[in-house]
């Protein structure tokens, strides 16, 4: 797992009176059970993390709480940051949104601040100094968790975009010298061109001799796209590869006939399985005749 670790500054929390800090940390550890429960209650009331079970929420909350208190104690957010990234990676895939994560961290800040307020209300001076120590640290922690989440989310999005790009031009090598181009979805002129270029590059890179173009997943076809298909077959042949078209539905076959598309130089086979068998047969022996019509 690669993290963009350098993009979040490794913030040292502000220096605070060490006696007060020890007291604060001690207090939060003593009240751990009660404050965790209060936090979970507030999370549930605010209807955050709806995709997670109460048990899951409690487990994560406990870990975040402990990391949070450790960060206050040591002044270093690194461990918390690592945990936040790890947590983010797990919950992003389940659809947790940015506002939920920010909401949860801010709730924890509120829960703890309120508890401190109640605990020290008899001594306003100490309360003030405790809050002075707590607030900037708490804000820093909230920012760290929020930024970690957003960065993780961006990384996941980038990954998905790359996957989509790859899926939209899926030229697959089945075995040596044989590639399949399964076309799925709407085939417009621009996409047909892209697919052709991708296919020809793959023929060159993989030294393919047979390409199977499977159009089972194509719903309809017009004259322009049909001509693209014919051109793709011809261009493949110029590069020394024979093309086999499979998955031609009866509707599309009818359309092609009605449109008067010249299919004489296209080798078509009913289904992908049959196409692959034909491809294997061709790979056994073959001579390619340019303009062999």
């Amino acid at each position: 797992m690669e993290h963009a670790a350098e993009s979040v500054p490794h913030v040292r929390l502000p220096e605070v009176d060490s006696r007060l800090l020890r007291e604060l940390v001690e207090y939060l550890r003593q009240r751990r059970t009660e404050l965790r429960q209060e936090w979970v209650r507030r999370i549930t009331d605010a209807q955050l993390l709806g995709v997670m079970t109460p048990e899951e929420i409690f487990l994560e909350v406990t870990a975040v709480y402990d990391n949070y208190v450790d960060a206050l104690e040591t002044g270093s957010v690194e461990t918390l940051q690592d945990y936040a990234r790890d947590l983010s990676e797990r919950i992003i895939r389940r659809g947790v949104e940015t506002h939920e994560v920010l909401g949860i961290v801010l709730l924890l800040r509120d829960v703890l601040a309120r508890s401190l307020f109640v605990h020290y209300q008899h001594d306003p001076d100490v309360l003030n100094r405790i809050l002075d120590a707590y607030e900037p640290a708490a804000n820093r922690i909230a920012v760290t968790v929020g930024v970690s989440f957003v960065e993780e989310r961006e990384r996941v999005i980038r990954e998905q975009q790359a996957a989509i790009r790859e899926l939209s031009t899926p030229v697959l090598q089945v075995r040596e010298r044989l590639v399949i181009l399964p076309i799925i979805g709407v085939l417009d002129s621009q996409r047909a061109r892209q697919l052709t270029e991708q296919l020809l590059m793959t023929i060159q890179a993989n030294r393919a001799k047979v390409v199977v173009i499977d159009i089972t997943g194509v719903a309809s076809i017009d004259m322009t796209v049909a001509n693209h298909l014919v051109q793709t077959v011809k261009a493949s042949r110029l590069m020394g590869a024979s093309a086999i078209i499979t998955g031609l539905s009866s509707e599309i076959a009818q359309t092609l006939v009605d449109l008067g598309v010249d299919l004489s130089m296209m080798k078509t086979v009913g289904d992908l399985q049959g196409g692959l068998e034909e491809a294997e047969r061709l790979l056994g022996y073959k001579v390619i005749q340019a303009g062999d019509e």
């Binding site: 270029e197 020809l200 060159q204 051109q231 110029l238 020394g240 001579v287 390619i288 340019a290």
Partner: protein, 124 residues
């Protein structure tokens, strides 16, 4: 710049190194016609890997080479057509008949062996 033509056994190999002018294309055509006769070659491989434009004149010249060679009993294979050049040729609706086409030199020679009745190294 003229195109070097190598003789390898029964075959001639012409490897075009850069963009050619029309007169260089014609010279290649004439050189190949001469050599096929002189060497009684059975096949010609023309490598166009470095050629970035195949227009109607080049295509027609290549066809002439192949037809002439055929009359003397030799097949001609064009190898190394680049993906973008293949698209342009198809969109232009250029024909290469009676040339054979193959991916690269190795495939071209294998294609010649098959079509001139020889045997591939792997015994096919």
């Amino acid at each position: 710049m003229s195109v070097p033509i190598l003789k390898q056994g029964d075959y001639l190999i012409a490897s075009i190194q850069s963009a050619l002018t029309d007169s260089e294309v014609l010279k290649l055509r004439d050189d190949l016609a001469d050599r096929v006769g002189n060497f009684r070659s059975r096949g010609i491989v023309i490598d166009v890997t470095a050629v970035d434009v195949i227009d109607s004149f080049v295509a027609r010249s290549l066809q002439t080479i192949a037809s002439t060679a055929k009359l003397r009993g030799a097949e001609t294979v064009l190898v190394g057509i680049q993906p973008d050049v293949a698209v342009a040729m198809v969109q232009f609706e250029l024909s290469l008949d009676p040339l054979l086409t193959a991916l690269d030199l190795e495939e071209g020679i294998a294609a010649l062996r098959r079509s001139t009745g020889g045997v591939d190294e792997d015994g096919r």
